[in-house]
Amino acid sequence: MIDISHVNKWYSPAFQVLKDCTTSVAKGEVVVVCGPSGSGKSTLIKCVNALEPFQEGEIKVDGIRVNDPKTNLPKLRARVGMVFQHFELFPHLKIIDNLCLAQEKVLGRGHEEAAAKAMKLLERVGLNDHAQKFPAQLSGGQQQRVAIARALAMDPIAMLFDEPTSALDPEMISEVLDVMVDLAREGMTMMVVTHEMGFARKVAHRVIFMDRGEIVEDADKEDFFGKPRSERAQKFLSKILSH
């Protein structure tokens, strides 16, 4: 579904942020990307739907080359859902309109159809009572669940999560993770940048560990948590699992 091969990215000639990254996410697979901050994991996931450009290598989503200038990027992005660290709901629109906007403008659905779809998804994330509110009236956890529903409203073939719980208060993390776990169990293809190792243990198929722009470890979940081969991954795991 997502094929990343030999991706190199520089912010400036002296600063290489991604170094020869190669990995893939199969259909229905849940892949967790972790690593210390500044390791390039967010940058990598943003390259997948071309929110970040890269200079060398190739990324294919469902067989379509992301870095081909002829690719219709808006069309491709509409098929890949993305959830951001800071939610990025549109603050000037009601919750329901946040979910309807792209359905109507990108997919060309009528308002009735889009609103019905939106309400169904809001119900699924437990927020149908809040449809007429504005984003600022919701808690962080609720906003992130709306953001997930907004991405799902486009019927995506895969979902990208960029540190979806890092900006949340601890007591709100689980409500967002619950939604993501359900999604994973339903067979959604997911690429998730997160430090939530509990989530990784529960639903991930594979774990990728990145450090300084490189993919240091790319292993099945059992192997990764059982016996990470690299010293850097071991060190990282011991730090975040010791609490």
Binding site: L51, P74, R77, R79, E88, L89, P91, A102, K105, Q137
Partner: protein, 230 residues
């Protein structure tokens, strides 16, 4: 001290001052603000675009307009617009452009430079995550601007845009250099005809002051009502 002032001249000329003068002033203000806003948005988008030449041209335009005195630009355009019209249409002689049309074009072009800087600040005040989220949903650049960025930016900058429009309202009085009877021009005509300079200019000042003051007050009220809660 006021013994030899005749304030009745104001009452006698009220109809002329407001029906002719003020109507012209308000029309010019409204049309210039609307045109300046549209043109200013385009310049702001050009300036913010990743296309280097577009950005450079827009920047040059803004710097150029902002370093010239408005009176000079008004004069210039009054004399230049007929020739530009001739050049554009290929007519055999300069196209006759009325004083109103020429001053309107001047104000639109001049205000666009100021509005574009306000718009640029407003657009830049929107966090980069917003357009990123919009593109991630599949919206094109123009859809992102139209449905996500500009509506938020407009709300952030509306108070400043309206304040600039109040300044524009005062600036339109400069068309007196083309002997157009706007409000100040009309007052000044009456003043010179009847020899009542003190009375008429006092009254004109009072009218500009009252309107601008009320408008500023309205802007402040509006500001608290439309702010987006984050």
């Amino acid at each position: 001290m006021f013994a030899n002032l005749d304030f009745d001249v104001i009452r006698r000329s009220l109809a002329y001052l407001f029906v002719d003068g003020m109507t012209f002033t308000l029309t010019l203000t409204a049309l210039s603000a609307a045109g300046g806003l549209i043109f200013g948005t385009l310049i702001a988008l050009m300036r913010l675009s990743s296309h280097r030449v577009l950005g450079w041209v827009a920047g040059l335009y803004v710097d150029f307009m902002r370093s010239l005195p408005l009176v000079l630009v008004i004069f210039w355009f009054y004399f230049l617009v007929p020739y530009i019209g001739q050049w554009l249409t290929g007519a055999s002689r300069p196209i006759k452009v009325g004083a109103f049309a020429s001053s309107l074009i001047t104000f639109i072009l001049f205000e666009a430079a100021y509005f574009s800087e306000i718009m640029r600040a407003g657009i830049q005040s929107i966090s980069r995550g917003q357009p990123a989220a919009a593109s991630a949903l599949g919206l094109t650049y123009s859809q992102t601007m139209r449905y996500v960025v500009l509506p938020q930016a407009f709300r952030n900058m509306l108070p400043v845009l309206l304040t600039q429009t109040i300044v524009l309202f005062q600036d339109t009085s400069l068309v007196y250099v083309l002997s157009i009877p706007d409000f100040l021009g009309a007052a000044s005509k009456v003043a010179q005809r009847d020899g009542r300079l003190v009375e008429m200019y006092l009254f004109a000042a009072l009218v500009y002051f009252t309107i601008s003051c009320i408008a500023s007050f309205g802007v402040r009220r509006l500001q608290s009502r439309i702010a987006i809660v984050r």
